[in-house]
Point group: C2
Chain length 259, copies 2
């Protein structure tokens, strides 16, 4: 007999941003796998069992969850944000591909969520309003040369760039190196949004030009959005500025002609 | 006096994927602006007023909503998915920047939602599990040459590509042209996911190799995800296949060495 496996995204951390679908899946599951701080956000019943693990043990965690589901349990693997964006859904799929046939028989449901860049973008205005990309700055699982190649390609092609995993104790220099590289491809005036804990009580949204962007403004809980050359900044008296991507790639020229 | 403006994303269309934050904002607002079919999904009270408009009138709609909020009303502009991804938040910001000072005094809140590519990705496995980009295929507001340049840059740099607005009656050839271009940059075996109405009753998720990808499989309600050369497909007996992006850019080599 086989059980069921939910891979659940709880959103950015504010319970009001967790979908009813995710809440229902959490209520249904008996066993919970995930990074401790994500599991801490859940209000579990006494008969729901936590299996917390370190953030760097994704594949081992995936196998443990799959084994338990294959044995008949209803299991939840929990990610913050969306489980499909630099999170557990890919690790689960990897474990299924490399694992025994019983993993492929599991009733697997991925429950999407509001990923960090969307929550940060909402607080800043609409910086992802036109073509954009999302990249992990971690070079744990890919060479740094590939990160740099992708940053350069994205900036040159005019994509706004959302950076996940920008910095950590074990990866202290990558964000500074990324900013330095991007300054050689983009004007120093391009707005950069540092979005920490968007939607939560300790939220902190900071906007600064790329030329002055300070990696020390970011930590593990920060999503950084680097604008394109077309990104606009609107000052508002008594309110934070709005950062947005014009819907039209010809908007700059059009504005120059009319104002 | 000034009112309040919510720019709300209702998610992919399944009410279970609308966040409580979005539902609360909908309950609070008195006036609703948006594309008719999105407004039709809301269960409004008799004293909540609908102002439906055509999908192509985004800027006029933004101005009408801003005028009403500036006059003191509590106004909601409603998008499906996330309002910050190829939707109304950017149009609102554009209207604020070009508009009168009273627009900048409005209490503006963007409420994020689950955008289409996340819902489609969840149904397919984890195709957005590593670096990816999101592009609109519409050439209404940007030249087609720029679309082609971005497609080529993204494919060459190894980004998975999520395509919004892939096709419409007025834009019948763009998706086919995009597939043809991508075939010159990526192997024909790369999985392409056509995700229509993900999470809704009429959901249809189809996976086919890029070499055989048929633009006729898409319509206005479809989000198309084109994999990278590293994207994997897992067959499962009696279940739909899983499509995912390995977390590691070295995974191909590693797998080749162990199997």
């Amino acid at each position: 007999m086989t059980g069921r496996l939910f891979v659940i995204g709880t959103g950015p951390g504010n319970p009001a941003q967790t979908t009813p679908e995710a809440s229902a899946a959490i209520a249904e599951a008996g066993h919970f796998f995930g990074y401790g701080p994500y599991l801490d956000r859940l209000s579990l019943r006494p008969n729901q069992q936590r299996h917390a693990s370190d953030n760097r043990e994704e594949l081992a965690r995936a196998r443990a969850a799959l084994d338990m589901a294959a044995g008949g349990a209803v299991v939840a693997v929990v990610s913050g944000g969306d489980p499909g964006v630099f999170a557990m859904a890919a690790a689960i799929c990897e474990a299924v591909e490399a694992g025994p046939a019983r993993y492929r028989a599991i009733d697997l449901t991925v429950v999407p969520g509001v990923t960090a860049m969307l929550a940060v973008a909402a607080r800043a205005g609409a910086p992802l309003g036109h073509d954009f990309c999302a990249m992990s700055l971690s070079d744990n699982l890919k060479p740094w040369t590939l990160v740099e190649r992708r940053l350069a390609a994205a900036a040159d092609a005019g994509f706004v760039i959302a950076l996940y995993n920008p910095i950590s104790r074990a990866r202290p220099w990558q964000l500074g190196r990324a900013f330095a590289l991007l300054r050689t491809h983009l004007p120093g005036t391009v707005p950069v949004v540092f979005g920490r804990a968007a939607g939560r009580a300790d939220e902190n949204i900071t906007v600064m030009p790329l030329g002055e962007a300070d990696p020390a403004k970011a930590d593990m809980a920060t999503c950084v959005i680097v604008g394109s050359a077309e990104t606009r900044l609107i000052d508002r008296p008594g309110r934070p500025p709005l950062v947005y991507a014009p819907r039209s790639a010809g908007a700059l020229a059009e504005r120059a002609g009319t104002t």
